[in-house]
């Protein structure tokens, strides 16, 4: 029976180093949540704590109404899929899949029946008698998935399961994982450093940095409404411009850029704008204009690169180097003066760091 996972105020140390700080996370029944971040951010530590391979300094881990915090790993009943597959090299594919059932004392005939049915679902029935060494990477990961799913765990966890596969297979496998997970309705935690993978597969994503969750939200919200500068940079907002509000007129706010030029922003679009804030924009969120009367951040255009759908300019401004995309119809020469105009629905307003 699938269960909801609740992690509360988890803190963990490696020796004297604090690797996880007061981390809380809840995963609903049947939900797939990704932990996303660069290596060393604490995502794998979190997974290993939930699995029981590490002990937290403080905090609690609950699965449904069961407290897992001090339970030994082998009693936790969690299905795990590892980055390097971790198949048992001396057991056949069928015995690998049947291993968890054997530990649960299920009779050999029943065990074989269930393992075979699971192999059928991942499309590996013909390979049941092979040893893992004779399989390709994709096949190995399917066996690992079958092995974790066959015990019908209340919680399924993935530790960078696709990192060792080539790009094409990665996309196929993640669709397959998502389909199996949906079909079984298994609560899942998925650890990855790959943003595209996390966003495409998850119901919600926790973006982590230095042992903390920076934002925990749906992929859509993370992509369009980052809550802070770290997440904004992480999801590709290249331009972060600090600004100050100089005048308010109803819903319209006039903001001053570092060089003193004025911009008008609507609170209807951005919500309440604090007196000091950071305007975040992707390259697409800054339009390049050569009209001298245009309202925007004055810039001197530098290197121009061709992106196929637009030209991209490294632009020198009082707020530092900004990256903006300009129309294909009018390529501009390096050294030209231009204005960078924020495109309202492609920008967001953040609290200053």
């Amino acid at each position: 029976m699938t269960q909801a996972l609740t992690v509360q105020n988890l803190t963990a140390h490696y020796g004297a180093t604090k690797v996880l700080e007061d981390l809380s996370l809840s995963v609903g029944k049947g939900e797939l949540v990704s932990l996303l971040g660069a290596s060393g951010c604490g995502k794998t530590t979190t997974l290993r704590l939930i699995a029981g391979f590490l002990e937290p300094t403080s905090g609690s881990i609950r699965l449904g109404d069961k407290d897992l915090t001090r339970l030994p790993a082998y009693k936790r009943d969690i299905g795990l899929v590892f980055q390097n597959y971790a198949l048992f090299p001396h057991l056949s594919v069928l015995d690998n899949v049947g291993f968890g059932l054997k530990q649960r004392g299920i009779a050999p005939a029943e065990r074989e029946k269930r393992a075979k049915a699971m192999l059928e679902r991942v499309g590996l029935s013909p390979l049941a008698d092979r040893l893992p060494g004779a399989l390709s990477g994709g096949q190995k990961q399917r066996v690992a998935l079958a092995r974790a799913l066959v015990i019908e765990p209340p919680l399924l966890m993935f530790d960078e399961p696709l990192s060792n596969l080539d790009a094409k297979l990665r996309v196929d496998m993640r669709v397959e994982i998502r389909q199996l997970q949906r079909a079984n309705g298994t609560t899942s935690v998925y650890v990855t450093h790959d943003q595209e993978e996390a966003f495409s597969i998850s119901d919600r994503v926790a973006i982590m940095n230095a042992g903390r969750i920076m934002q925990f939200d749906t992929p859509e919200m993370l992509y369009q409404r980052p809550a802070n500068a770290f997440v904004a940079r992480f999801v590709g907002f290249e331009n972060l411009v600090p600004m100050k509000v100089s005048a308010r007129d109803g819903e319209t706010v006039t903001a001053t850029t570092p060089d003193g030029s004025q911009l008008k922003l609507s609170q209807e679009r951005f919500g309440a704008i604090p007196d000091a804030f950071v305007l975040a924009a992707r390259a697409d969120g800054l339009a390049v204009s050569t009209d001298p009367k245009a309202e925007g951040i004055p810039a001197t255009l530098g290197l121009r690169t061709y992106l196929g759908r637009a030209y991209q300019y490294q632009s020198d401004t009082a707020a530092g180097m900004l990256i903006a995309n300009g129309a294909l119809s009018s390529p501009l020469e390096p050294g030209s003066a231009a204005k960078l105009m924020p495109v309202p629905d492609q920008c967001c307003v953040l609290q200053p760091e």
Binding site: F53, P72, Y74, K75, L80, F82, N84, P89, R147
Partner: protein, 263 residues
């Protein structure tokens, strides 16, 4: 078919190496069947009476049994200590101090004669331990480094996430060690066993100090015999030892294939 020409010097060199390796064995084999009362090669006449003579001399019979008992017990004990030690060293590599694995290899660095002498002084005489027990301790210390080293080498390439996978599927840690870890380092354990067994059976330096009245090992008995007699019995005992090694290798070849020793 393309055939590449082999340089004649290479052929000559290879043949020389084989002669160098096989020569002593052939000489011993020849001398053991010589129908003379002294060691000689090529053999004069042909007889098996020197082989019969081994078993006529009770000291040989006794020491063969002692040597086999010692080798099996010492190797067994060393593996009982060495396998868990090697496991701990590899499994908790990050947590354990680096000098720990060196400690287990130290006996290799101590000259065997020193090991024998110190055991004689502190254990055999100092604690008045029975001769066989002292020999057993000595041989176990002698072969322990090989066990730790060889099993360690096997565990070094073992992926411990496999163990975690088994645990996550509900297998308790101790059971996991026997059902998952051990089967995957089997070749290392067998290689360690053979290496340790042969080291123990052949040991002279350490045993020399520890053998005493009534209890001796085969190599020490051979030494004692040579000091008094120069008949081909020695050669036939050596042939027996050779056959024992060949038998061990044949079993290994049958069950595992010899290539695993090269891994």
């Amino acid at each position: 078919m393309m055939t590449s020409r082999i340089h004649p010097l290479l052929i000559l060199f290879t043949v020389l190496v084989y002669i160098f390796l096989m020569g002593p064995l052939i000489i011993v084999l020849g001398a053991s069947v010589s129908d003379t009362t002294y060691l000689t090669f090529p053999p004069q006449g042909l007889t098996l009476r020197w082989f019969e003579n081994i078993f006529a001399i009770s000291a040989f019979k006794r020491t063969i049994i002692t040597s086999l008992e010692l080798a099996f017990l010492a190797t067994g004990l060393a593996l009982l200590i060495g396998i868990p030690a090697a496991y701990a060293i590899n499994r908790y590599r990050i947590k354990l101090p680096t000098w720990l694995s060196t400690v287990f290899v130290l006996p290799i660095l101590v000259p065997e004669i020193v090991l024998g002498f110190s055991l004689l002084k502190s254990v055999a005489v100092g604690m008045d331990t029975p001769i066989f027990l002292t020999l057993l301790v000595g041989h176990m210390l002698l072969v322990l480094p090989y066990c730790v080293r060889v099993v360690s080498a096997s565990l070094a390439s073992f992926d411990f996430s496999i163990e975690e996978a088994a645990v996550s599927l509900g297998s308790p840690p101790v059971k996991t060690f026997f059902t998952i870890v051990l089967p995957n380092v089997r070749s290392g354990v067998i290689a360690a066993f053979i290496l340790a067994f042969i080291t123990s059976i052949n040991d002279v330096s350490t045993s020399l100090f520890l053998t005493g009245p009534g209890v001796s090992t085969l190599p020490i008995q051979i030494l004692a015999h040579v000091e008094q007699f120069f008949d081909p019995t020695i050669a036939s005992v050596s042939v027996l030892l050779m056959l024992l090694t060949v038998a061990v290798m044949a079993i290994v070849e049958r069950t595992l294939g010899l290539t695993f020793l090269a891994k």
